[in-house]
């Protein structure tokens, strides 16, 4: 059955790729567009855009692919196949992490990793900035968002919604 092939494809891509949605895109494209011909290349690119406009993880785009090819059950199946591998692996990893987190080795390792996460996020901000801060309005939106979040108690929700409205008006 075609839908089982689809669900298995989604499942194993999510089980074997580390690094997130953008790492999965080439694999997904190879299977969905070039191998099985479930979507055209334009439809595939639109599915990425849909994954980006919706809140939450990019991989929700799999639900769109499922819906497009197999209807509502395809969408539901795609969501389960996408997140089931994570649920299994993270549960196992968390279990052992919590068991050993107070050992000196784990403590020392994480004391090194935690500051690296800050460096990692700072590098992400730079990369994203290069891609999306194209002109003065976009730079002002970014600077405004930063100032609001650091100096006030306003929720990120309003910053994001406000920026979306500004985008619709300005661009």
């Amino acid at each position: 059955m075609e839908i089982l092939k689809f669900l298995w494809t989604i499942f194993y891509i999510n089980l074997f790729t580390i690094g997130g949605g953008y790492v999965m895109i080439p694999l997904l494209q190879r299977e969905v567009v070039h191998h099985y011909h479930w979507l055209s290349n334009k439809q595939f690119i639109d599915s990425i855009a849909i994954g980006q406009v919706t809140p939450g993880p990019l991989t929700i785009m799999n639900a769109f692919i499922g819906y497009k090819v197999f209807g509502v059950w395809g969408a539901i199946g795609a969501v389960v196949s996408t997140y089931l591998p994570s649920l299994i692996v993270v549960t196992i990893v968390s279990h052992y992490y919590l068991k050993f987190k107070n050992s000196w080795i784990v403590k020392a390792v994480f004391k090194g990793i935690r500051p690296a996460v800050i460096g990692l996020l700072a590098a992400v901000a730079i990369t994203l900035g290069r891609a999306s801060l194209a002109d003065i309005p976009t730079s002002l939106i970014a600077a405004g968002g930063f100032a609001i979040l650091v100096f006030t108690k306003v929720e990120p929700t309003f910053v994001i919604l406000g920026a979306g409205v500004a985008g619709a008006i300005l661009f």
């Binding site: 089980l15 790729t17 580390i18 690094g19 997130g20 949605g21 855009a49 849909i50 406009v53 809140p55 939450g56 993880p57 990019l58 785009m61 639900a63 769109f64 997140y83 994570s86 692996v89 993270v90 549960t91 968390s94 992490y97 000196w104 403590k107 020392a108 390792v109 994480f110 090194g112 990793i113 935690r114 500051p115 690296a116 996460v117 800050i118 460096g119 990692l120 996020l121 700072a122 590098a123 992400v124 990369t127 994203l128 976009t138 730079s139 939106i141 970014a142 968002g145 930063f146 979040l149 650091v150 929720e155 990120p156 994001i160 406000g162 920026a163 500004a166 985008g167 619709a168 300005l170």
Partner: protein, 184 residues
């Protein structure tokens, strides 16, 4: 931070899942604001650990970060509550968009909205860096690791997973002795 009810975990992640437009990094900013600053379910240390766990496990990192937080708060039930809450709003939205897409085949307005949101996400993630730096970078060794990590990624384009593993090794070498002697 244990024993937070499944219902409370679900509701917070439902809220994050519904409003964290702008992708994975916007969602991290929401996690920090909701779970660390407002609810105080996690410390900044634990938040950094959950980010790492998300990066090192297969699948969508942000979902995995949520799963790890859920598991630490309330075992398997907590983990399930996070993934369902996080994914449900966007799933419903995707169904609606898919229906409209198949009918009209056009997403031009969405692209304009995306451009504004994309810019705000840069500010959002910068605010997380700022908050975490103030909490976690208290000694010069940590500051040095953070700067080195930033340079490895931004200038030398190192793979993030390689970076995390490398930072772990550095941590073991630099902090191993003091941790073994029981200092924290």
């Amino acid at each position: 931070m244990a024993n937070t009810s499944v219902k409370n975990i679900f509701l917070v992640f439902l809220k994050i899942g519904a409003f964290a437009f702008g992708g994975v990094y916007s969602m991290l900013a929401f996690f920090e604001r909701e779970l660390v600053t407002k609810k105080k379910w996690l410390t900044h240390d634990e938040f950094a650990e959950s980010v790492v766990m998300g990066q090192l496990t297969p699948g969508a990192p942000i979902v995995n970060t949520g799963l790890f937080i859920g598991y630490t708060l309330n075992k398997l039930k907590g983990a399930l509550a996070t993934v369902v809450g996080q994914v449900l709003p966007s799933f419903i939205l995707v169904l609606i968009i898919s229906y409209l897409y198949i009918k009209y085949q056009d997403i031009a307005l969405l692209n304009a909205v995306l451009k504004g949101v994309g810019a705000a996400v840069v500010g959002l993630i910068a605010s997380v860096v700022y908050n975490m730096s103030r909490k976690l970078l208290k000694e010069y060794k940590s500051i040095f690791i953070a700067i080195a990590a930033f340079l490895c990624l931004a200038v030398f384009k190192l793979n993030p997973i390689g970076l995390i593993v490398g930072a772990g090794v550095v941590g073991l070498l630099v902090f191993g002795g003091e941790q073994q002697n029981g200092n924290t």
